[in-house]
């Protein structure tokens, strides 16, 4: 069956629930406004089941109602990540089984950029948005060099640590500093190490374009909203090949 509607308690009833807040005090007009919003969202009839004033001039609403929209599951388009998202446990297991040693990661903010927010969110145990950083992964050995690291220092540390992957974070974009720094970094690695010995080069930052990998000479670009788990999953995918 490719055509479906929401299900409340009877096939085809199209019932949904919705809650939201409007920035107006609670009165009859506010309730009418809530129903109007629900109608515009396609709920008809819309049944206002709960309205409660909150703080100064806000009202919270819960609305139940019927939507007439049909959903065609055949026409759903999915943007596939080109690597599977693994749990920390799975990441550790794959490394243990297939690499048979810890996977070495070196991270840094390069150039004059002192914003370690990004690299710390990905690497520090603390992590971000409730997800632990890469330090939490028992099978990853993480070296976080912190801020304002020079490219030669980074290359040297990557060599010392036998890095499998190098993570570079760039937040500052003044005069395209993030692009210049990244190109300088990838060039230095190309110069210092032969192709087979070069670590996987990954950059991250809120203002990168994910499609610029070839231009910047890196293997992968991560942008806004990336979580440690995605990075760990990518590392496993790119360096070891996924699961199985």
């Amino acid at each position: 069956m490719s055509i479906v509607r929401p299900y409340g308690d009877t096939t085809g009833d199209g019932m949904v629930q919705l809650s939201f807040t409007l920035p107006i005090p609670h009165d009859k007009r506010a309730e009418g406004a809530a129903i109007q919003l629900a109608n515009k969202m396609g709920m008809d009839p819309a049944l206002l089941v709960h309205a409660k004033p909150m703080g100064d001039g806000f009202t919270f609403f819960v609305v139940y109602g019927k939507v007439s929209h049909l959903v065609d599951t055949e026409k759903v388009q999915i943007v596939e990540r080109d690597f599977p998202l693994l749990s920390a446990k799975e990441v550790n297991a794959v490394i243990k089984r297939k690499l048979r040693r810890r996977l070495n990661v070196v991270g840094a903010c390069i150039g004059t950029d002192a914003h370690t927010v990004g690299i710390d969110a990905i690497l520090n145990l603390k992590g971000i948005a409730g997800e632990k950083g890469l330090e939490y992964y028992a099978e990853l050995s993480v070296t976080n060099m912190g801020a304002q690291v020079s490219v030669p220092e980074l290359v040297e540390t990557a060599r010392e640590q036998k890095a499998d992957a190098v993570l570079v974070s760039q937040v500052v974009t003044q005069r395209d500093a993030h692009l210049h720094n990244t190109r300088a970094m990838s060039a230095a690695f190309r110069e210092a190490l032969p192709a087979g010995k070069r670590p996987l080069l990954i950059v991250g930052g809120p203002r990168f374009d994910e499609l610029m990998t070839a231009d910047l000479g890196v293997d992968r670009i991560f942008t806004r909203g990336t979580t440690p788990r995605e990075v760990a999953s990518y590392l496993v995918h790119a360096l070891i090949g996924s699961k199985a």
Binding site: M54, D120, N124, L125, K132, E135, Y136
Partner: protein, 518 residues
């Protein structure tokens, strides 16, 4: 409510004695070292304020200049006050500006009389700074007397975090009107690793608002207005953690913050800050908090987000005992110890709620006079907001049944979004219902002798003692290096901020420590 678990007082006393033995060597290290941030805190109390055009505070510039000339081992007080007298510049902020321009050289005077004179002037300046802290404390006492404390325990603790102090203020005031007793302003991500305190009112942060002296002042003033309006003193919380822990404590004391997050090991384990740096900064900051009448909140809840909340329950007890020892050693009284713990057991486990009750009651009975800080579920909040709201209700019930002091309000949208206005409202409704509905149920709640809760509590205490024995044998520094806590390995020779640590020379002088230990 002592005695519900039938804990053997000799075993509890043994656990405390072990914590003292484990902690004492660390205190010895803290007493024999100083850090750039301790010295900067001394200068802040001595009146140095403001920042250069790049936003680097003058205290940083001055400490760096002294350090370049004579090192940190003597303390900055004598070289700074000697230079002030020698150059005739009385205002230390002006001295810092001259020093930054290379116009002042620092040295430790050779003549004994000059050292004595410099110490005397340093002592006076430090005393002036501490007088501000004392006045703020007296002011708090007066306001609490005038407006009153919350009527119920636990106090209701709510977080705001917009990144913009001018957006935080109305949110904090609205939260207080909706029932919050304590407002915490979350710091911007990454501030803990800055080796300076930003200046001024700030309007952009990452997932939080920068902690600055001006932001402290603005928020405290706004909450004073709200306290008056509500007839209830609203407490303000921030963070004395990270690389600037001592300075944060000093600024909090001078701006009348009421609580500070101030864990003894959090920065080491979760921020990879050097252990010695942390313990030195920790001791100084706690001495300041003791003087300022600030309640500290410790961070044991964090262990349970990385390790399993059942297997690692005893690490919470061990850390609470260590935090208590370090706090007492620094002069904090029991009423100032908001020792942390959390509701983080996997709700799918059988008897999970019973174990939560056992763990919470254990903390309550080991630390009968501390206002324990009870932290809501985060790890098992999945995005199913309906289930999350139920879990938060059970969390609130444990808080009511076990006499917790401070209850951080759990959000059903944890791990989904930063709380919406409606999330906060629903969460507070949940807290009010449970506290009101349960009322004094704790009076009737006495776990059965020989029953599950008593056994579990005694088991956790036993495991805590075993771990403490291992730590005493190993030394705490080694235990931290080995990954005993929160699974992280942190050797004393590594970590951020190590280059800001110095051993005290024989002539080390710190007028603030001297006054605080007097």
């Amino acid at each position: 409510m002592a005695g519900k678990l039938d804990l053997d007082p000799r075993i509890v006393a043994r656990a405390r004695a072990l914590a003292v033995r484990a902690g004492q060597p660390v205190v010895d290290i803290a007493r024999s070292h100083t850090t750039v941030s301790v010295e900067r805190a001394v200068l802040r109390l001595a009146g140095v304020h403001g920042a250069d055009s790049d936003g680097i505070p003058w205290v940083n510039r001055l400490v760096d200049a002294v350090r370049a000339d004579v090192g940190l081992g003597h303390g900055v007080a004598v070289p700074v006050f000697h230079a002030a007298a020698a150059t005739g510049v009385d205002d230390l902020t002006v001295l810092a500006q001259k020093a930054a321009a290379g116009a002042v050289r620092f040295d430790v005077p050779e003549k004994k009389a000059e050292v004595t004179a410099a110490r005397r002037r340093a002592k006076k300046s430090a005393a002036d700074g501490l007088k501000i802290v004392d006045r703020r404390r007296a002011e708090r006492d007066r306001l609490i007397k005038r407006y009153g404390d919350p009527q119920q325990r636990p106090w209701i603790y709510l977080i705001v975090a917009t990144g913009d102090i001018y957006e935080d203020i109305p949110q904090a005031q609205a939260a207080a009107r909706a029932g919050a007793d304590v407002i915490a302003v979350i710091r911007s991500t990454g501030q803990s690793l800055l080796d300076y305190v930003p200046e001024g009112a700030t309007r952009e942060g990452f997932a939080g608002t920068y902690a600055t002296q001006e932001n402290f002042r603005l928020m405290r003033a706004a909450l004073d207005v709200t306290s008056k309006e509500l007839g209830r003193y609203i407490r303000l919380t921030n963070y004395a953690s990270g690389l600037c822990m001592p300075e944060m404590a000093a600024l909090a004391g001078m701006e009348r913050l009421d609580m500070m997050l101030n864990d003894s090991m959090y920065g080491i384990l979760f921020r990879d800050i050097n252990p010695i740096r942390t313990f030195v900064d920790q001791r100084f900051s706690r001495q300041v908090h003791a003087r300022a009448g600030i309640i500290i909140n410790t961070g044991e809840d964090n262990y349970l987000t990385t390790a399993d909340a059942v297997d690692a329950a005893h690490t919470v007890t061990v850390s609470q005992l260590l935090n208590e020892f370090f706090a007492h050693e620094a002069g904090l009284a029991d009423w100032q110890l908001g020792l942390g713990h959390a509701f983080e057991i996997n709700p799918d486990l059988p008897e999970s709620f019973r174990m939560e009750l056992a763990h919470a009651l254990l903390a309550r009975e080991i630390f009968p006079d501390a206002p324990l800080k009870w932290m809501p579920p985060t790890k098992h909040m999945t995005g199913d907001v309906f289930r999350g709201n139920l879990l938060d209700g059970f969390f609130n019930l444990v808080g009511a049944l076990t006499g917790q002091g401070i209850l951080l309000v759990g959000m059903m949208t944890e791990a989904v979004v930063t709380p919406w206005i409606s999330d906060r409202d629903i969460a507070l409704q949940n807290v009010r219902y449970v506290l009101n509905g349960a009322g004094n149920l704790h009076e009737d709640f006495v776990p059965a002798p020989g029953g599950f809760i008593r056994n579990r509590a005694n088991q956790v205490l036993g495991e805590a003692i075993e771990l403490l024995e291992r730590i005493v044998d190993d030394t705490l520094m080694e235990a931290i290096a080995d990954g005993t806590f929160g699974l992280m390995k942190r050797p004393a020779t590594r970590g951020k901020g190590l280059d800001g640590v110095a051993k005290q020379d024989a002539d080390y002088y710190n007028p603030v420590t001297e006054a605080l230990e007097a």
